[in-house]
Amino acid sequence: EAGVTQSPRYAVLQEGQAVSFWCDPISGHDTLYWYQQPRDQGPQLLVYFRDEAVIDNSQLPSDRFSAVRPKGTNSTLKIQSAKQGDTATYLCASSPGTGKDTQYFGPGTRLLVL
């Protein structure tokens, strides 16, 4: 069974540029999570979906961040006008859907904003 895949693995931007991260969850997993992990910190939940519906995006840092999952499978997280404070690893996770299910994490995208 293929795991959660993410691309790109690395991104380097100048402040003000936009970037998108892509996530392909494990097949059949209807719940998808995006986390932000600053250097030397634990992951912090940004947004999560059940199928194509956003369940909670209250932790998205600002209106510069957006996330979609239009067909209930792959998902894209986008940062408009990146700032140095956005430098972090962005992790995607998926789970089969019930509350106690384990979340399976992808390898992450490491973002550096100069």
Partner: protein
């Protein structure tokens, strides 16, 4: 609000020695607790999870953890550390929101293994 504290940012042990990584949680109600490991340039992998029941849970690769409600703790243990255990370890508490599992992570403990 729920929170997790991992008081030791870095731990160094000798290969073959025993290990304990500490985790304290704050949660109103009965928590679900997890330990994840993150190897260099990889995503998080689940080591073990606690759901209400037996306070000692067994995980992969010889890891176990013990839940203590009185101490609000969920410490991770291993009897004999191997060099391949060199990684960052995260403790997490889950808040079930409806049917969704919202994880709150600690800051992590970096484990180094000396020969």
């Amino acid at each position: 609000a729920q929170s997790v504290t991992q008081p030791d940012a870095r731990v160094t042990v000798s290969e073959g020695a025993s290990l304990q990584l500490r985790c304290k949680y704050s949660y109103f109600g009965t928590p679900y607790l997890f330990w994840y490991v993150q190897y260099p340039r990889q995503g998080l992998q689940l080591l073990l999870k606690y759901y209400p029941g037996d306070p000692v849970v067994q995980g992969v690769n010889g890891f176990e953890a013990e839940f203590s409600k009185s101490n609000s703790s969920f410490h991770l243990r291993k009897a004999s550390v191997h060099w391949s255990d060199w990684a960052v370890y995260f403790c997490a508490v889950s808040m079930l929101s409806g049917s969704f599992n919202k994880l709150t992570f600690g800051a992590g403990t970096r484990l180094a293994v000396c020969p």
